[in-house]
Symmetry: D2
Subunit: 137 residues, 4 copies
């Protein structure tokens, strides 16, 4: 998001890492949150709802987790880096699990296919973010 980059460049706090990497990771987390929320809700409207129970559950965990990662990474002041690393680990784990589950249904549901792709992107961005943290500190 253009504005988020501007916000990050106007903070008096030292940035956790490269602004572009931060921005891309925050944006990927927000998109993943929205996609998982939308996918869980779309699943609720499908006829074969019985097959989608695990999808819905993982979508909810993934939406909640990505939302917190976006919040934590948006804050630059006086962070605890070990916490951020472990939170990124957790986020990668649920993004990967949620994306894999989605792929099982991607042939039948376009929303699952789209959501799988955003989960995968989120996983990649969190990995890049973790590497950028290591380089910066």
């Amino acid at each position: 998001m253009q504005t988020l980059q501007q916000m990050l460049s106007s903070t008096p706090n030292a940035l956790l890492a490269d602004a572009k990497v931060l921005d891309q990771c925050i944006e990927a987390c927000l998109e993943c949150t929205a996609a998982c929320t939308a996918c869980a809700d779309a699943c609720l409207g499908e006829e074969g709802l019985d097959m989608l129970r695990r999808c819905i559950r993982l979508n909810e965990d993934c939406a909640d987790t990505c939302e917190v990662v976006a919040r934590v990474l948006t804050r630059q002041s006086r962070a605890d880096l070990e916490f951020i690393r472990s939170l990124l680990d957790a986020c990668r784990r649920i993004s990967a699990a949620c994306g894999a589950e989605r792929l099982l249904h991607a042939a039948h549901h376009e929303h699952c296919r789209l959501c799988a792709s955003l989960c995968q992107k989120c996983d990649v961005r969190c990995d890049e973010m973790a590497r950028a943290l290591t380089r910066a500190h």
Copy 2:
């Protein structure tokens, strides 16, 4: 967000309102959440922190509220419309209050100026959304 529009167009549920209006409101809420979180954190690093207490508090209320509005509007299945209307009211109220407080500090802090503008946009989008709900139902 392009993907969110695609997600909305692939749901089996009837949309609450016009997809573009929904998407713009959800995106404005997510941007406002990120901006308020970033602004509160930037305020925490400023020298004149004493003057920014009310900013920080309203930023936090606004971030929390916009986040929930984004979640609720992302869901299309079987909503309670009166609830959504009252939640949009609450969101407009805190966006307006938070934006107005930000403007007091916009001359000194670029992050406050940017955040004020996103709060104002969120207020406008929630108003459009409430009108679209009325037209659709």
Copy 3:
């Protein structure tokens, strides 16, 4: 929660309203959040899942909203009272709608019956809170 009352009594900020009313409302919101999250998840495991789509959706809206009310009421510094009133309205609306939906399924699912009762309690506590705000300001 005993500790929350102690926290509220140690803040340098003027309380929004009577500490006991605040504490009871915050606690009712947190219990309602947990109950709605647990009920949505329990519904996901039921055989007659098709009948529970609207339950799950309203549970999620209610959990998200009550969580934000708890956060906002836990903050005492420099609030915007009109916002808090409108947020309490929204919370009462979704608690009532969610509770009413739950009652339709209370005869078949104990988790729906328990959740309905916590939604109703949350509605009552938010009403008491709104009255206490009016008395205090």
Copy 4:
């Protein structure tokens, strides 16, 4: 919370772990969320606000993280255990960091002292929960 235990005992899903351990961990997370939110807000009203910047930041990360842990543990259906383990790790890390920071201010601020004790309790409960997961699976 008594009702949460009742909710957990009425779910058709297999419990992740012993109901009492689950309930105690969820409750500790919710109390920690409320305490961290209250402590950050109380700090905002203190005279020596300059000294409390890191407290406020860690409180916010801790509140956000504990809230998500409470949500995830409240869901019993078809979880991803590796994700839950990594999320508990992240929660322990921020609870410990936030509690330690609080202790630096506990002599001056009762809200910091109370909050430190709830962070510590949350850390312990998350550790117990992780062990219970290992025993159960």
